[in-house]
Amino acid sequence: MSEPSHDPAPRYSPLHAVHEALGAAFTDFAGWQMPVRYSSDLAEHHAVRTAAGIFDISHMAEIAVDGPDAAAFLDAALAGRLSAMAVGKAKYSLILTEQGGIVDDLIVYRMADTSYLVVANASNRFAVVDALRERAAGVGGPAFAVELDDRTEQIALIAVQGPASEAVLAATAGLEIPGLTDLKYYAWGSGSFGGSDLMVARTGYTGEDGFELYAPVEHAAALWAALTAAGEPLGLVPCGLAARDTLRLEAGMPLYGHELGTSILPVQAGLGRVVVTDKQVFVGRDAIIAGPPAGAPVLVGLAAKGRRAARAEYPVYQGERLVGEVTSGALSPTLGHPIAMAFVDPAVAEPGTVLDLDVRGTRIPATVVPLPFYKKEA
């Protein structure tokens, strides 16, 4: 995981004092001091699966893209067809290198006809901003009429995730979200809190129903307090990055630096569908159409028995043959057995194939399974 290159000083969330008062343990994530857990990462994980959890993810990067060419610009700069997305919707997308590798995965919200919000990972904030600025100057053609504005420092991002999350938002004093119940997955709506506008999106990184609230930093602490007060009777607990990681892993969601990187093509990570290849012009097009070399590793899910989990970078074998490497792994809190994602030789990627995980010298059999490991009940 690379640090942001532009500024090595530690960064603090606008909610840092709130987390300290809650007794959080902190971890460095891409230069940000963020809560890793408040008390028990397992309890936090289970709360999200059964009730609700509240996460501070203010370290994530928000980049506003505005201007008459915003839609055409994003079609050229990113992998998806963002021009086809309706106002009020969100889309999972990728930003690619010329070689088709993944600079980052993104959520893109269409705010208005000529206005989008691009949300990137904290670790890739500057890489994404730099790539977008470069591409705004033209992608095989004239410059685009767009303005880019990195609003990361002005926006607090609070996620409320879990089956009770809609009820939590509905019960939160001072929070007004017209049409909350009808808000669809991967859509956003305008709301207000304490007289200030905010954006509420039905998106997340846990595999549960849930929301992400984009609010001005000066209202973050009051919003957190109001959500927590309304949520506690419904089982909501504050959750740190440890729970966020096991939740996303169970949901089969990739994490940059593990399942995604500049040397990985989307199709290898199971994200081929995210790239719209019939666009005439977009960065990475030629490499995507050419595809990865034959035999390039592909991402699979692996499930094992017992309690010993493989971790990132542990080798994967078939017999004595090294066939791949784990990218993320944990003892699944929900399923009760070890799970992992791994890049493996495509010859051994078929579900049902039994491979061996090398867990610090001990071979542990693991079966290739379809992703996700966990899917919420419809």
Binding site: A25, S40, D41, A43, A242, R307, L331
Partner: protein, 124 residues
């Protein structure tokens, strides 16, 4: 601030040792347990196995990471705590009590840290 009982001895690898005659009870400190997060798997040396101070003899694994268990002294394992293998979360809830890991018949004891020395080591 984590608890560091004054009547125990410690290692720089975050084990605690309670000496009772020639038998030492060994566990990991609350500081180590807190740093690991929820412990979900414990691998302990077998009863009868010989330990050499400083060698890796087991693992304490959380959802997030893996900690290695170092033998704090030379000796022979006389008891391994099966209850903690069955319920690893005991290490988080009671690291100095029910969360003990092994009992060792001690053949020789290297210099261990006092509570004050351990507190200084972890900067608390």
């Amino acid at each position: 601030m984590s608890a560091i009982p004054a009547d125990l001895q410690y290692t720089a690898e975050h084990e605690w040792v309670r000496l009772d005659g020639d038998v030492a009870t060994v566990g990991i400190t609350q500081y180590a347990a807190d740093a690991l997060g929820d412990v979900v798997y414990v691998d302990l040396p077998k009863v009868g196995s010989a330990l050499a101070a400083g060698s890796i003899v087991g693992e304490v694994e959380s959802t997030k990471s893996v900690g290695e268990l170092y033998a704090p002294l030379d000796g022979e394992v006389v008891e391994a705590n099966q209850a903690v293998v069955d319920a690893p979360e005991t290490i988080n809830s009671d690291p100095y009590g029910d969360g003990w890991l092994v009992k060792v018949r001690v053949s020789s004891t290297p210099a261990l840290l006092s509570a004050d020395e351990y507190r200084a080591l972890i900067g608390e």
